[in-house]
């Protein structure tokens, strides 16, 4: 198992934009340590000179024309799904 401290767990929660209770942090801290401990077995493999695989069917960049496609969905429909909107725009709390 990999030791994950409370500070590590809080940092990960912050990176992940997750507000967690003390109880959740403690549980996740232990679970994450165990899981990282398990996946560390990959360190045993010799991968020198091996290229990583990010995409399995060999696709590279797929280009398309920069044109507007009508998906048949209106601005009103999208705005209606935002929890808060005003004056035809989505409303957010202050950033700073």
């Amino acid at each position: 198992m990999t030791a994950i401290t409370r500070e590590d767990a809080l940092h990960l929660a912050q990176l992940s934009a997750l507000e967690l209770s003390e109880d959740e942090i403690e549980k996740l801290r232990i679970d994450i340590g165990n899981i990282l401990g398990y996946v560390q077995q990959l360190g045993q493999l010799d991968t020198s000179g091996v290229e990583p695989t990010y995409q399995v069917t060999g696709l590279e960049n797929v280009w398309r024309e920069d044109e507007i496609i009508d998906y048949g969905i209106s601005r009103e429909q999208l705005l209606a799904r935002a929890p808060q909107s005003t004056e035809n725009q989505i409303k957010v709390p202050k950033v700073l």
Binding site: A9, L12, A13, L15, S16, A17, L18, E19, L20, E24, K27, L28, D31, I32, N34, I35, L36, Y38, V39, Q40, Q41, L42, G43, L45, T47, V50, E51, P52, T53, Y54, Q55, V56, T57, L59, V62, R64, I69, Y71, G72, I73, Q77, L78, R81, A82, P83, Q84, I90, V92, P93, K94, V95, L96
Partner: protein
């Protein structure tokens, strides 16, 4: 219940009566918690259109169920999460549109592990689904609701998604057919993204023929999913004779339930009797596949789930004073424990200082796994083994131990990481009466030939 039988019923009665019956049956089995909502109003309206001849097609009037991480009309598209509990989609998934274009009628949305993170459907925000054969056991997952509702005979088929086994394993646990196609075969547009390099869409059916029909309908290029492949799926009239099949011995160790191995061996005997050759083969990298999977998938999903921020749609926490507070609180409330666990692992393996040791190493190991598969496919037409190490386990049995839960995926993740087609077909039951599935994995784009092989074995 097969599609053919349902089409026959529609012919002698009506689409409306068939859809009404499916809805009534769905209510009858509500205690399995396989469905999160019924799309009754829309389903009946569409059934009437079929009866009036306004909707036609190869599936005209056939009721089916959609895993609730697909965007589909008629009810909320929740991903079994509080985050999307009330999400009313303005668009439908391409796969759903294709089925509707053939006249299929969605009667409800199936339960899953929230955001498809899990292997038992116990991570649903709305309670677990129970196994079709034993209500004290799990449905498997994450497409648990889809498998159970098909196994119960409420509908002839359901849609599922498979990122690391989420179609194959619940199909195995409930004695139905599950197809995880070659990566890129079926468009993922309109399906809640999990891990973009392994996410696939496929059907869960009661026989192979239905799976073939559905694959032929759903496959093909979609401009809205750049990873889709040109349509290569063509139903084969007959299975290729005398195939050379590799039994993956790494999947048949003593860690695998002896009854599961026994059913797989019986299936192999039948394959031999049908003229195929079986040889034991070794896939040493399979041992490492789960570790690769639980680095690569959390990394990808932590990025994909960043979009759930409480701003544009979905749940929004109340009382937040700043944007950062709003994000954190919304996500803290909207995600389940397993979602949080995976997002945080993803953040860890992608963070500077750890990236090379975890994420990059896993993607290199993935290349080694693919090489091993490719080598085997130079000699063998396909590979065979169990789907999961055991039959469906008891509800609650693995909940406290995430690694034990992850180990259920150990035999399904290799094909996912390599993008290979893999199907799960019923291979009998354990002495306790629980279904066992056999998994057949083939080279890229061999989907139709795997299904033809499985079809040829069905009556044997």
């Amino acid at each position: 219940m097969t599609i053919k039988e349902v089409l026959q019923q529609i012919k002698v009665s009506s689409a409306r009566s068939v859809v009404e019956k499916a809805l009534a049956d769905a209510k009858e089995v509500a205690d399995y918690n396989a469905l999160l909502s019924l799309t009754e109003e829309r389903a009946l309206a569409r059934a009437d259109e079929v009866d009036k001849g306004k909707i036609t097609g190869r599936l005209a009037g056939v009721p089916y169920v959609i895993k609730d991480n697909f965007l589909a009309f008629g009810g909320p598209s929740t991903a079994a999460s509080h985050m999307l509990e009330f999400f009313d989609t303005p668009l439908q998934a391409t796969s759903v549109e294709k089925l509707e274009a053939e006249g299929a009628i969605c009667i409800g949305k199936a339960n899953l592990d929230a955001f498809a993170h899990g292997g038992s459907t116990e991570n649903s925000a709305f309670g677990p689904t129970k196994n079709a054969y034993d209500k004290s056991c799990v449905a498997g997952g994450s497409s648990g609701g889809s498998a159970v509702i098909t196994a119960l005979g409420v509908v002839p088929f359901a849609l599922g998604s498979d990122t690391g086994g989420s179609i194959r394993q619940p199909a195995s646990y409930n004695g139905v057919v599950g197809v995880k196609p070659t990566y890129g075969t079926v468009s993922r547009y309109g399906v809640v993204a999990m891990a973009s390099s392994t996410d696939t869409i496929g059907p869960i059916t009661s026989n192979v023929e239905d799976a073939e029909l559905l694959m032929s309908i759903m496959s093909g290029l979609d401009k809205r999913d750049m990873t889709t492949l040109p349509d290569f799926f063509e139903i084969l009239p007959d299975a290729m004779p005398s195939q050379k099949i590799g039994l993956v011995k790494d999947f048949m160790s003593e860690h695998v339930d002896s009854e599961v191995r026994a059913r797989v061996n019986e299936y192999i005997e039948k394959l031999k009797a049908a003229g195929h050759t079986i040889e034991e083969v070794s896939l040493p990298m399979a041992e490492y596949a789960l570790a690769m999977y639980y680095i690569i998938v959390p990394a990808e999903l932590s990025s994909n789930l960043a979009r759930y921020d409480g701003i544009r749609y979905g749940h929004q926490a109340e009382g937040a004073k700043t944007l950062a507070e709003l994000y954190g609180r919304t996500r803290g409330q909207g995600f389940e424990a397993e979602n949080k666990r995976r997002i945080m692992i993803g953040s860890y393996v992608l963070s500077s200082g750890f990236f090379d040791a975890y994420y990059l190493q896993a993607q290199k190991a993935r290349t080694l796994l693919i090489h091993e598969f490719n080598k085997l496919f130079e000699q063998y037409d396909c590979l065979i083994g169990p789907v999961a190490p055991s039959t469906a386990f008891k509800l609650g049995e693995n909940v406290a131990d995430p690694i034990k839960m992850y180990l259920e995926d150990i035999m399904t993740v290799p094909a996912s990481l390599a993008g290979l087609p893999s199907i799960s077909v019923p291979a009998g039951k354990s002495s306790a009466g629980m279904p066992v599935g056999v998994q057949i994995i083939g080279p890229m784009k061999s989907d139709a030939s795997l299904l033809a092989l499985a079809r040829s074995m069905e009556s044997k």
